[in-house]
């Protein structure tokens, strides 16, 4: 029986331009069976796509754009998480019997 599963690709870019450079990335692959090793920290040195735009051109759909950072007076120079984080998805078909 054929079923659909979701793959999530998270790309953090260097700025808010969707064509800007990927600086961090993760894949969560719902098509892999439970117990399978997913992408892990440190297992890749090159991102799967150079930018969000490149991923879109390969069929990934953007499902979340980050809000642009706001800079409160007195805290303008503070930093934390990677602010330009995009979530993309792709649906894939699996054979549920396998």
């Amino acid at each position: 029986m054929q079923q659909e599963r979701q793959q999530i690709l998270i790309l953090c870019l260097s700025d808010s331009d969707l064509a800007s450079k990927t600086v961090a990335w993760s894949v969560y692959d719902g098509s892999r069976p439970p117990g399978d090793v997913q992408m892990q920290t440190g297992d890749e040195t090159e991102p799967p796509y150079a930018s969000v735009l490149t991923a879109m051109q390969d069929g990934w759909r953007v499902i979340q754009l980050p809000s642009l950072p706001s800079y409160a007076r007195g805290h303008e120079h503070e930093t934390g998480h990677l602010p330009y984080e995009y979530v993309l998805e792709r649906m894939v078909t699996i054979d549920a019997r396998s």
Binding site: V23, W25, S26
Partner: protein, 262 residues
């Protein structure tokens, strides 16, 4: 405890590296015989990892080596407070990596910091799962595993090293354990220390005005920092001003401290 001779303290260049990257590697500073003794003791130790520091004389010797003690004194001052210690073990053929995290809880000190010393008593090549760190991440405000969904980050570095290496880390650095693809147990001993004193001017500052030292801070931009890179520069310039004990020191981005009267 007497203050060590300044030949054992960190130089300004080493301090600038720590301030900029959030860690400083002291390669092969522990002699081979002591490494072997600690390794042997760890292999036969069955107590709680947090007790090893209190029960094993060899591990205490490691932290009495002048170059190790001097480096720690340069960062957290003489007679730092013991916070905690741990024996971190990654078993043979362990395929699961740890998620990225920053240790402890969000630290509310504006500039003060704890140091975590990671001691590798045996050769720890890349395939054996040396700790993965993200250089330059130590001054970003995150909460423990709030960074866990980042799996790979440009510029991340596994601390592959030879036996006897001690890596000193700022408490805030993003890091995680890695899979061990060898058939041998991987050990790493961690000691966290916090300062009793303000961490100002604790190192050997003979080379503090060396242009190369300033350049280290100016040029420590990391590939993952993107549009925030100049803000990361400001953060390390603030920390530098603190550790050199000179509130007029200005290695900020385009002299922003002076321009903005910071």
């Amino acid at each position: 405890m007497p203050v060590l001779d300044k030949e054992y303290l960190l130089t300004a260049q080493q301090m600038a590296e720590f301030v900029s990257l959030g860690y400083l590697m002291l390669p092969e500073v522990v002699p081979s015989g002591l490494n072997q003794a600690v390794h042997h003791d760890l292999q036969s130790y069955h107590g709680a990892g947090g007790r090893f520091w209190f029960e094993n004389p060899h591990i205490r010797e490691v932290f009495e080596i002048p170059v190790v003690k001097g480096a720690l004194q340069s960062l957290v001052g003489p007679e730092p407070i013991y916070d905690h210690s741990a024996v971190h073990v990654v078993g043979p053929s362990h395929s699961q990596a740890q998620s990225y995290h920053a240790d402890s809880i969000i630290d509310t000190r504006p500039l003060g910091f704890d140091v975590q010393a990671f001691y590798f008593c045996h050769d720890t090549p890349d395939e054996m799962g040396p700790t993965l760190i993200l250089p330059g991440s130590h001054l970003r405000r995150v909460n423990t595993a709030s960074i866990a969904r980042y799996k790979n980050v440009a510029g991340q570095r596994r601390l592959a090293c030879k036996a006897g290496t001690v890596v000193l880390m700022h408490h805030g650095i993003w890091h995680c354990a890695q899979p061990n693809r060898t058939e041998t147990m991987r050990y790493m001993f961690k000691l966290r220390l916090r300062p009793r004193v303000e961490q100002r001017n604790l190192f050997n500052g003979d080379d503090v005005d060396d242009p190369e030292v300033r350049q280290l801070i100016y040029q420590a931009y990391q590939p993952w920092q993107g549009n925030e890179a100049r803000l990361d520069h400001m953060a390390r310039a603030r920390l530098w001003r603190y550790v050199v004990g000179n509130d007029a020191a200005d290695v900020s981005f385009e002299g922003a401290f002076a321009r903005m009267k910071i």
